[in-house]
């Protein structure tokens, strides 16, 4: 009975999501009076998009493997902090992150300064390798988290058994870890592939020129410079189809991948080999920490001098951003909870689709739908909340759905026995069991929403700046130092919100 109601809610939520996603596409196509077949240049963009997304996914996961393994089997002070901080790049606004990467890997960056000391020429990061570098910076932490969940989902008893049998590390890997990786790696690859498909600014800036044109840039061009709505909608559909393929592949190859919460909890392990492997793990962790933390640190440092020049509008913008983030977090959790209630793989596959739709397509479509009814500027902030929610959903659903499924499989029978249904089930079973996952999701959604420029420019609001918009405007008016300072405040607020929610969820629990 309870399951049937859950399926109904899940189908409703999925339907709402599909409507939110595809109504705007339909509106654009209707307005354009049909679509147009893509030009040769668009196919080149599709090829480059696929290439960079595939490479980025492969490299991110390959590099995440040793990091996740080291994290899974080593216990050290600050491990929890390490895991929390490695999530940081993921929630940075794109332009901020690119500037951070340039500060480290640019011609005047720390890396080239060090190389010059050794008499080696400057390395340029522009090109396909630069695109992959940036995408790895963004997504390796995500891959690490997904793999770490896989490792932690292997029951400790099996490692105990392996230790008891005195299996060498290679055998432990083959017998225990390879089967897990076969489950988890396809999902991680597909998720990162899908995220990188919609890349635009990163690919262009670090790609070094028009050969690094992605589909998303072609969509932008079609909308703003050519005003070719039909072509924009067709390109958007192509992009959605690619993500849908990735989502299906992920569903076919990988099943449950555990909860994203409670990763910091130390579990006794018997498989941590000593000797040179211990040194290798330490080295891997230190390199990963340096790669992920150095750009962020340099961003923080470059933001400090500008703090004195912050414009008057900063606190209003910060307030708007935080409110939008909180609203997005609440809405995301609600929708994801609804979709997770179905315990259905198809419904969860639908949850990946928003990855494919650019905020620009969503915003333009909804603008066309709403404009005849109500002045769009009134709806700028609600639209921003809606779009941010859609963008955060794929990540949150991946975390909530397995947690929900586990709560049901562990305690559903007892709840059935006690006749707990509807709200009572939600109150006494679902919410308490999902608290850590919900906290993590709310934090992630809030942080992602803080950094998103979103649709606000199209809807146009006077006096309702968000922090990213304010930062962008400062950059556009030569005020680079002040912009860096706003970037610093943006980072601090994003991390702060994420940390608060994540901690709030991880309250003592049996």
């Amino acid at each position: 009975m309870a399951l049937r109601a859950g399926a109904l809610i899940a189908r409703g939520s999925a339907g709402l999501l599909l409507a939110l996603l595809f109504a705007p596409l339909a509106a654009i196509l209707i307005r354009a009076g049909g679509g147009y077949l893509p030009a040769p240049a668009d196919w080149a963009a599709v090829r480059f998009t696929l290439l960079q997304a595939a490479l980025s996914a492969l490299v991110s996961v390959a590099l995440a493997l040793p990091v996740a393994r080291a994290l899974a089997r080593r216990r050290f002070p600050g491990r929890r902090l390490f895991i929390a901080l490695t999530g940081a790049p993921f929630i940075l606004p794109v332009i901020v992150a690119v500037m951070g990467l340039v500060a480290i890997f640019g011609v005047r960056g720390a890396l080239n300064t060090a190389l010059a000391q050794l008499g080696l020429g400057p390395l340029r990061i522009y090109g396909l390798h630069g695109v992959v570098l940036a995408h790895v910076f963004f997504n390796m932490p995500l891959a690490t988290r997904m793999l770490l969940q896989g490792w932690q989902a292997i029951p400790a008893e099996r490692f105990r058994l392996a230790a008891q049998l005195n299996l060498p590390p290679a055998a432990t890997f083959r017998l225990l870890e390879v089967p897990m990786l076969r489950q988890v790696v396809p999902g991680a690859l597909a998720a990162i592939f899908a995220i990188c498909l919609a890349s635009f600014a990163v690919a262009l800036i670090l790609g070094g020129g028009p050969r690094a044109t992605t589909v998303e840039l072609a969509i932008y061009q079609a909308f703003t410079f050519d005003f070719d709505l039909g072509r924009a909608a067709v390109l958007a559909l192509m992009q959605t189809a690619l993500v849908a393929l990735a989502a299906v592949a992920a569903l076919v190859f990988a099943r449950a991948d555990g909860s994203g919460a409670g990763l910091g909890r130390p579990i006794a392990r018997w498989d941590a080999p000593r000797g040179w492997r211990r040194g290798a793990d330490v080295l891997v962790l230190m390199l990963a920490a340096a790669f992920l933390a150095a750009p962020i640190l340099s961003l923080a440092l470059s933001g400090l001098p500008g703090l004195a020049q912050l414009p008057a509008g900063i606190w209003g913008a910060a307030m708007t951003s935080v409110l939008v983030a909180l609203a997005s977090a609440a809405l995301t959790c609600l929708l994801c909870l609804g979709m997770a209630a179905g315990l259905s793989a198809v419904v969860q596959g639908v949850g990946l689709l928003p990855l494919a739709l650019s905020p620009l397509v969503l915003g333009t479509g909804w603008f066309l739908i709403l404009n005849p009814v109500i002045a769009p500027s009134v709806l700028a902030l609600p639209m921003l909340v809606a779009v941010n929610t859609l963008m955060a959903m794929p990540f949150c659903l991946r975390i909530l759905a397995p947690a929900y499924a586990r709560a049901e499989s562990d305690h559903g029978r007892l709840a059935d026995q006690l006749g707990l249904r509807g709200l009572a089930r939600l109150r006494w079973l679902v919410l308490p069991r999902l608290r850590p996952a919900l906290g993590f999701c709310a934090g992630l959604a809030a942080a992602l929403s803080m950094g998103d420029l979103g649709v606000i420019t199209l809807f146009g609001t006077s006096g309702q700046d968000t922090l990213p918009l304010l930062m962008y405007r400062l950059m556009g008016a030569y005020r680079t130092e002040a912009a860096s300072a706003v970037g610093l405040i943006l980072m601090a607020l994003s991390f702060g919100l994420f940390w608060l929610f994540d901690r709030g969820g991880a309250a003592p629990d049996a």
Binding site: M1, A2, D410, H411, R413, L414, D416, Q417, L418, G419, L420, R421, A424, R427, W428, L429, P432, R433, R435, D509, A510
Partner: protein, 231 residues
Amino acid sequence: MLDLRSLDIRQGSFRLRADFRVAPGAKVAVLGPSGAGKSTLLSVIAGFFPAQGGSVLWQGQPLEGLAPGRRPVAMLFQDGNLFPHLDIARNVALGLTPARRLTPAQRDRVAQALARVGLAGFGPRRPAELSGGQQSRAALARILVQERPLLLLDEPFAALGPALRAEMLDLVAALVEETGATLLMVSHAPEDARRIAGEIVLVEGGTAHPPAPARALLDNPPEALRRYLGD
């Protein structure tokens, strides 16, 4: 009166048939080799697993189509009988009502049940703070407030030591004696059956045999039971 009428249970290649009645207030041990289908039989009665054919009746009324929580059944599983995130009092209270606020009468009822199983004052604690035996007692306290006429035990005390298990069985016996409930309990151990059960249902070879008097059966086991007992 529990009436299993031509029950036909299938799960892949596994098959189990049952066709018998259990008298009101009877205490029945369900005995049989591992994998014979003892737990599955209880799951069907409790409504967690549908039978392929036949019917489960209680007082002449078929139970098919009723959700587990709507059946006249209280059940304890091998594990997971308490919500780990709720305190003991709330766990017991959920046997009465899912409402957030309890009436004074309901609070008294919970306190009485806890006192009856020897857990007076343990209400505010979480399950993880209790020993295995205490957790079993807390689950029994909830069974007590549920006041269902049919109690199903699927080896809830299997992880306890022999002395503690005996103590729990005595407590169960006393509780069903007080409430007049019918008891069906899965067990591996003939001595458990001898201790509190008046009758035995032997599950073996794809059939759940009708209940037979425990003492007579154990003293003079038929071929099927002898195979299981191993002597």
